[in-house]
């Protein structure tokens, strides 16, 4: 009996299991338990949530493997962890400790300003951020088995998440109306591999699962991203920087399932306590924005 591991079907498939779910940033095993109990479909293990990375500055790197292992021990749901853009050795370390998904993330300080990791070289699947269709397809070309629109992490301002989701969805909509002979020029224009442009046109969607991220702070934000056509939602600082993380986490999980039911959305939005304070992205200096990291 032939047994194959680390195949493209396996990598893409785990992301398909996460669809319609919420992936939550956690910094301790206790947070991870709260997230699991609230109904998270996976957790992202890290040392600092993006809002704290912003506040504290300095170089943001892969988390201590010991912390990630403790979080893996604490919960039965999949555990993801972040490595720096282009830092393939951090990725090797994360694969060696057995994380279920690696996020090659702009939230950490990039290690390479020209290249991303060649993700096909790994058995563990990767998720990468994007701001538009070209960036999404470049990452898939390198082997990302899941995409998340970047938004602007650690702000609690959903405007960039909406901008990037609308960019991807809108570009795919236009692509589906193009004649086949237009695809090569379009691939050149957006800097994407031709074969993936063709596949995206045929499918009418990205060839891998696409979550929203970066600025989701309320159940309404999460449902907004779902109604825009995202497959699920990452929530970073929005949960554990709020007044009542357990309650808010459970409410966001419910909002993603019932994203098309305003009566339920109203119900779950009640009495959640203080949301994270948030920062208005339009008033942020360009140097503080991280979504531009990625090539």
């Amino acid at each position: 009996m032939e047994v194959k591991t680390g195949t493209w079907t396996e990598k893409k498939g785990l992301a398909q299991m996460l669809k319609g779910g919420v992936i939550m940033d956690v910094v301790t095993p206790e947070h991870a338990k709260i997230a699991e109990d609230a109904g998270a479909c996976a957790v992202m293990a890290l040392e600092r949530v993006p809002a704290d990375i912003r506040a504290q500055g300095g170089v943001a790197r892969m988390s201590d493997p010991e912390l990630i292992l403790k979080i893996m021990d604490a919960v039965s749901i999949p555990v993801m962890a972040k490595c720096r853009i282009g830092h393939f050795v951090e990725a090797q370390i994360l694969e060696a400790i057995g994380v279920d998904y690696i996020d090659e993330s702009e939230v950490l300080t990039p290690a390479d300003e020209a290249h991303h990791i060649l993700k096909h070289n790994f058995k563990v699947p990767f998720v990468c951020g994007c701001r538009n269709l070209g960036e999404a397809l470049r990452r898939i070309g390198e082997g990302a088995a899941m995409i998340r629109t970047k938004g602007e992490a650690g702000t609690g301002d959903v405007v960039e998440a909406v901008r990037h989701a609308r960019a991807v969805i809108g570009e795919i909509r236009r692509l589906t109306t193009m004649a086949d002979e237009e695809l090569m020029s379009y691939a050149k224009e957006i800097g994407a591999p031709y074969e993936l442009v063709k596949e995206t046109k045929e499918l009418g969607r990205l060839p891998v699962v696409n979550f929203a991220a970066g600025g989701v702070a309320t159940p309404a934000d999460a449902a907004l991203m779902m109604q825009l056509g995202m497959d699920g939602v990452f929530v970073g600082s929005g949960i554990f920087k709020s007044g009542d993380p357990a309650k808010r986490a459970a409410a966001i999980v419910k909002a993603v399932t019932h994203y098309n039911d305003p009566a339920i959305l109203a119900e779950v939005s009640k009495n959640l306590g203080e949301p994270m304070v948030g920062r208005n992205v339009s008033q942020m200096p360009e140097a503080e924005r991280i979504a531009g990291r990625g090539w």
Partner: protein, 192 residues
Amino acid sequence: MKIGVLALQGDFAEHIAMLKRLKVETAEVRLPEHLNGLDGLIIPGGESTTIGKLAVAYNLMDPLKQFGQRHAIWGTCAGAIFLSKDVSRDQPLLGLMDIKVQRNAFGRQVDSFETDLDIPELKQATGTETPYHAVFIRAPIIESVGDNVKVLASVPDGRIVAAQQGHLLATSFHPELTNDTRFHEYFLTLVD
């Protein structure tokens, strides 16, 4: 015939796409009233803890148990866990099938695998000879089954990965992630 797919979380859209290929009418089930008028139900892959918590929160547990008394239900991976009566940990379960399941029994994601399975019932029901190519993702195994449960498939070391109890079906793997519609066709034979 109208088949529902539990759409609380997971890859329900993939099951719906398979059913549509077989020209079957489908419906997404998120609330108890969505079960009305259905002839069968699929519980998809996903996270069993998430699906269980949402089923409790929206009062689906009893309606699903009642539905399963009379109608066919098929659980894939997380769905198989949810159908079972025991997973050796505290999480909401329907307990419709007399099976004990172990979650993540093959390890973490890097251990997830694809392989061919020999499933005589499937070949017979669909009149085909080719082996069934199964995709396992952080998959559970069926540790033990009750007397009224038939084992449909095992991996070579003997661990059970598919079982049937009358009109109830559980698979550790994900037919909805393949292009092979035979398992969905087999499930439809269990629907009245």
